[in-house]
């Protein structure tokens, strides 16, 4: 049985309780935050277990790497507290069930993981990937399953993730470039937190893109545009890789605009909020986020997560901001369409 590595003593001695104090969706001062995180730690009831919107932000805010969000998720599951309606939760669990319909390319020691995001089958092309493609996998059999922390269901992760690891093991790969933060977060954060062995070295695709752009050197031309970055929830699981956004933008001559809701203050794309609790919070968050992009003078909204893209692309376009995935932006910089 896999159990979460969580150190209660770290919370007891924490002087900032940033996990809850910095939350974008709940208002807690340091004393209240300490009281609530200790209640959660000790298995007691806390309003946080009811009100948390699953933005994953606390995984980044905790400076001690103590996995407050995974703990909240565990406690919710123990207490049968649903984050979303039952039917929606079932639907997502069903979506990720292995069906034997996966796709495997020509596997080498290093490969790309598209997880279960079909968009990558279209987006991943051109010279950025010519040294690795067609070494890729796609499908539920290789799906990282992290999304179920949105639904307070770690049981399904503990059940499926070890099988996913076995599937990777059978392929004999040594390095996996994860095309989605959730995959990377699963392999680099969640699996270690639960003691699940990862049989390869996970590489964040930002790192891959950055290195690849450097290799292409003079072929990279500055785009001279202003972009706002839509940071996804899953990026909070690997905050140490977030700097690559700025690094890549610098490399391709893009001005990453200063705005209120960026970096640690980033806002969710809204669709998980809509499914879980209705349209009011989702609409409010989306409006604040997009108004902030407009106010900051962004010409493009650059996405990392395909789900964020699906949630916001048409909406930012209506505001006069062009939506683009970061792969598309990098391809533009090397003259590809």
């Amino acid at each position: 049985m896999y159990t979460l590595k969580f150190d209660e003593d770290l919370c007891k001695t924490c002087t900032t309780c940033d996990c809850l104090v910095m939350c974008q969706y709940m208002d807690l001062d340091i004393d209240k935050a300490k009281e609530e995180i200790m209640k959660i730690s000790e298995g007691e009831d806390s309003f946080v277990l009811q009100d948390c919107v699953t933005c994953y932000g606390c995984e980044e805010y905790c400076k001690r790497g103590n996995h407050p969000f995974y703990l909240i998720t565990e406690r919710r599951e123990e207490k049968d507290i649903l984050t979303s309606p039952r039917a929606i939760t079932k639907q997502w669990i069903n979506i990720g069930e292995p069906q034997g319909k996966y796709k495997v390319g020509e596997i080498k020691e290093k490969m790309l993981s598209f997880g279960f995001m079909p968009e990558f089958l279209r987006w991943v092309k051109g010279r950025l990937f010519e040294d690795i493609m067609p070494s890729f996998i796609f499908g539920q059999e290789f799906f990282c399953n992290v999304v179920y922390i949105h639904f307070a269901n770690t049981s399904i992760i503990k059940e499926r993730l070890p099988m996913v690891m076995d599937n990777f093991r059978k392929l004999g790969v040594k390095e996996v470039v994860c095309m989605h933060d959730e995959c990377y977060g699963s392999f680099a954060s969640l699996a270690p937190a639960y003691g699940i062995e990862v049989p390869f070295k996970p590489i964040h695709y930002f790192e891959y893109l950055y290195n690849r752009l450097k290799e292409l050197g003079d072929e990279v031309r500055p785009l001279n545009i202003k972009v706002a970055y839509q940071r996804p929830c899953s990026s909070r699981l690997s905050p140490d890789k977030h700097h690559f956004v700025g690094d890549i933008m610098k490399l391709i001559g893009v001005d990453l605009v200063e705005r209120r809701y960026s970096n640690k203050n980033s806002l969710c794309c809204g669709e998980v909020l809509r499914m879980a609790s209705g349209y009011e919070l989702a609409n409010d968050v989306q409006k604040r986020n997009m108004d902030d992009m407009v106010d900051s003078g962004a010409e493009y909204c650059v996405f990392n997560c395909p789900a964020c893209y699906a949630a916001l692309a048409q909406k930012v376009a209506k505001k006069g901001i062009k939506p683009i995935h970061i792969i598309g932006l990098c391809r533009m910089a090397i003259g590809e369409k």
Partner: protein
């Protein structure tokens, strides 16, 4: 009998009549499960006058006549059970008049839903009609004749409720106008304020006459459409959810489906809600009203709106929806049939449990689908099974399952929609005796020779 083909050729021209084996093969069947039966002749008239002459010939020779649209009903309604002449109406496909301000259209009896939709989109972009989810070739007159449903049925009732006038060739060969058009050049009402004679033809499957013209209501076509899907895992809650949704009067159409595959749909009931608007504000207002109406279900975690991603929307918003046809090929043999009783919405839970029971009993793939009629007065619940046409055993299992559905539907207080001949017999047996006698009297008087689509709505 060779005189008949010569006579028919004199009426329509030799290119539009046949007794060739190929034609007889095709006109002997529909895409459903009913056994085939060959006609003796097939004729494709172009005008009401030609239809009149065909009917007079049939009357004189006492030959059965089976009027046919696109033949999409699936329940064998155009299979010539006693042979005779199939009258294929597809050449009578003219859109005769659109009265934009009064919002009605007059079309010939073989005009398809697809062609009317395309015509309105091109020439009258602010008007639409209630298009069903059958293939676009389905004809308007036949759809009215079977009391079909369409995209506007949730708001305005059966498609046949939208008829505003008929022109019919009676079994005597006379042409008869029904509704305001019988005393006025305008086709705005099928009955009121006159005695409503449309009931002598609508729902009769051609057993009382052949429709050569039909007028129907058109409705405002908004610039934008969108779709939301509310999902619940408790079938018992569906009637309450529908009640709340219909109370808002915000939905264009409401369709419910539950099916085990693909896995995204497993274990849940999906209430698909279509909305329309001329502006973003109108659309968002309607969306807000619908979300607010179901807030209690969301808060109790008993249901929620699923995320309909942009890639899914064009599929859902398509009219007619091709997904229905795709379902027909799930078993890779192109077979699909459903029984769709009209029944109270409060029966949804037991209908859905019944289809699961039958699917398990007969080892069949299924889809339960319901279309809300008239803001919840009733619904069509489709017990749909898919089968491989190359697998006779599977086809037999579907027949048995559908037979059980027929028995169940009657006991649950439902009424068959576009019933097979067997279901018509079951309905007639169960009918109030005085109603049955009235039905018999009408048929005997309108069609004394019994030549019109014999086998259908016959009281013996």
């Amino acid at each position: 009998m060779s005189n008949v083909i010569l006579s028919l050729a004199e009426i329509v021209g030799e290119n539009y009549v046949s007794s060739g084996e190929e034609e007889l093969y095709f006109y002997a069947r529909d895409p459903g499960l009913m056994p085939a039966h060959k006609p003796d002749w097939v004729v494709v008239p172009k005008t009401a006058e030609e239809v009149q002459k065909i009917v007079r010939l049939a009357k004189k020779e006492k030959i059965p006549l089976v009027p046919m649209g696109a033949g999409m009903a699936l329940t064998g309604l155009i299979i010539p059970l006693k042979g005779g002449i199939v009258v294929d109406m597809k050449r009578m496909n003219k859109i005769l008049e659109v009265n934009e301000k009064a919002r009605y259209v007059i079309v010939e009896g073989g005009t398809s839903h697809g062609s009317l939709k395309a015509y309105l989109e091109k020439n009258y972009p602010r008007l639409r009609h209630s298009i069903p989810d059958s293939p676009a070739t389905a004809t308007i007159a036949a759809n009215m004749m079977i009391h079909g449903q369409g995209r506007l049925t949730q708001q305005y009732g059966f498609n046949s409720d939208m008829v505003t006038g008929l022109e019919v060739v009676l079994p005597s060969g006379e042409i008869c106008k029904i509704g305001s058009c019988s005393i006025s050049p305008e086709w705005f009402s099928k009955g009121a304020p006159l005695p409503d004679l449309s009931g002598l033809f609508l729902g009769w499957f051609g057993a009382t006459g052949i429709i050569t013209k039909v007028a129907l209501r058109l409705y405002p076509r908004k610039k934008m459409r969108d779709v939301e899907i509310f999902v619940t895992d408790k079938e018992d809650l569906v009637p309450d959810i529908i009640y709340e949704l219909t109370h808002t009067e915000m939905a264009e159409d409401i369709v419910i489906f539950s099916q085990p595959l693909p896995l995204i749909f497993k274990d849940n009931h999906h209430i698909t809600i279509f909305i329309t608007g001329d502006t973003d504000e109108e659309l968002e207002f309607k969306r807000k009203m619908l979300w607010d109406a179901l807030d209690g279900f969301i808060k109790s975690k008993d249901g929620g709106f699923m995320w309909v991603q942009p890639a899914m929307k064009p599929i859902l918003l398509e009219m007619p929806q091709r997904s229905v046809s795709r379902f027909a090929d799930v078993k890779k043999g192109g077979g699909f049939e459903y029984s769709g009783p009209i029944i109270l919405v409060e029966r949804y839970p037991e209908c859905t449990r019944k289809i699961v029971e039958l699917s398990s009993k007969y080892d069949l793939g299924y889809s339960g689908m319901a279309r809300i009629i008239g803001r919840g007065h009733c619904m069509m619940f489709g017990f749909a099974f898919t089968f491989n046409r190359a697998d006779p055993d599977m086809m037999e299992r579907v027949r048995k399952a559908l037979h059980e559905v027929s028995n169940y539907a009657l006991t649950a207080g439902g009424v068959f929609w576009k019933p097979t001949v067997d279901e018509q017999r079951m309905a007639i047996e169960r009918m109030d005796p005085n109603t049955r006698n009235l039905l018999k009297m009408i048929k005997k008087n309108v069609d004394p020779n019994g030549i019109m689509n014999p086998g259908n709505w016959e009281v013996n």
